[in-house]
Symmetry: C2
């Protein structure tokens, strides 16, 4: 999957053959679907309005008409099609000791979904070079579903807990789906859920040792 | 620090005022130093030979003469100036139960160093869009010092352990230094070493539950 990048004809035409997303048969939706593919493959800097328009078989002026600038198109295209916060009650409802494992299993499943995959790649490939994409990722990490989950566990320092969990998940996404480092990239999702789940569990619900009190001047060991 | 991106004049001139790195007073070294700054600020796609040549006050042809292509310049510029593997004996030598904490403290310290910072940012900003940078990051994650550390602990599945630890560390670098999500971005290094250390400790030395045996078909919980 790591090789399927930078516009290799094979991967592109494969993506095309998968057909349109449901509900994107209108022109606006077709442009959005192509924008997601383009941002996912090339990142913000690499994708162009001209290229997206060509893939959607419309005039570039129509893309500007519907969405304004490339930046505005990016923001709309990268909106997740799934309301991730809707999953929170279900994630919280299971055995409390396996919350982390359920969250990792859930995000791994989401990342594999054909509608989510270009969004994940687009956001990861753009966040490190484009300020708008970076702001979107900051928002997902700092105010997104993980914070809601951290808050639901009713422990102090929910923001720190959420961003710690987010750092592990975003690193997993980068190492597995963008950089593609083995054996992590090919590890089965259920194995990763069991191995990484306890990390998320501890960040969200555990005693963070001295970290709990946010008193870095305290010496001592956990 | 997140705002100091995409060529804001302030951050650029600040970087310039810091002066040349030791040992880079020759032309080749001056080009390399400017290349590191440029890749760190703009990533691989955003940096140009022309811009690097201008900052180093040389002709672009001289950059090509010394380094060949932009890709070749990137590979040389992103070579770490510190031999990270030299730190391994010292990291392994301390109390075994705090190996993870020592590693996190060590990498956080490295990332803050003026000579390392542009390399970290350059690699992170480029790895998601450029295949050469991605290959370099894969190598650091899969075959780098973390693997040596994982191997030194003499536990099975050293490669999986190393890439798991790498995924947490690369996610921390991205969230803290590139995306800049709070409160993680401003958290004191010693707090993060105590909070994230046990994660690395478990990945490198702990029982990875069913993950240990790499038998994803096994049901059961950790």
């Amino acid at each position: 999957m790591t090789e399927a990048r930078r516009g290799r004809p094979g991967s592109r035409s494969l993506a095309r053959r998968r057909g349109r997303r449901p509900g994107s048969s209108d022109t606006r939706g077709r442009i959005l679907a192509e924008a997601r593919e383009a941002f996912g493959e090339h990142g913000y800097d690499g994708a162009t309005i001209r290229g997206i328009a060509a893939s959607a078989e419309v005039d570039p002026a129509l893309v500007h008409h519907y969405f304004g600038s490339k930046q505005q198109l990016f923001v709309v295209a990268m909106e997740f099609p799934v309301d991730l916060s809707a999953a929170i009650p279900r994630l919280v409802a299971g055995p409390p000791g396996l919350l982390g494992e359920r969250l990792v299993a859930y995000v791994l499943e989401q990342w594999e979904a054909p509608t989510m995959r270009p969004l994940l790649l687009g956001l990861l490939r753009s966040a490190s070079s484009d300020p708008v994409a970076a702001a979107m990722m900051r928002r997902y990490l700092a105010e997104g579903p993980i914070l809601a989950l951290a808050a639901a566990t009713d422990r102090p320092n929910a923001s720190l807990r959420a961003t710690l969990a987010g750092s592990q998940l975003v690193g997993l996404a980068l190492a597995r789906h963008v950089v593609g480092v083995e054996p992590l990239a090919s590890a089965p999702p259920d194995l990763l859920a069991r191995v990484i789940g306890p990390t998320i569990q501890r960040y969200l619900t555990g005693d963070l040792a001295e970290g709990e009190a946010m008193q870095p001047q305290d010496p001592g060991v956990p």
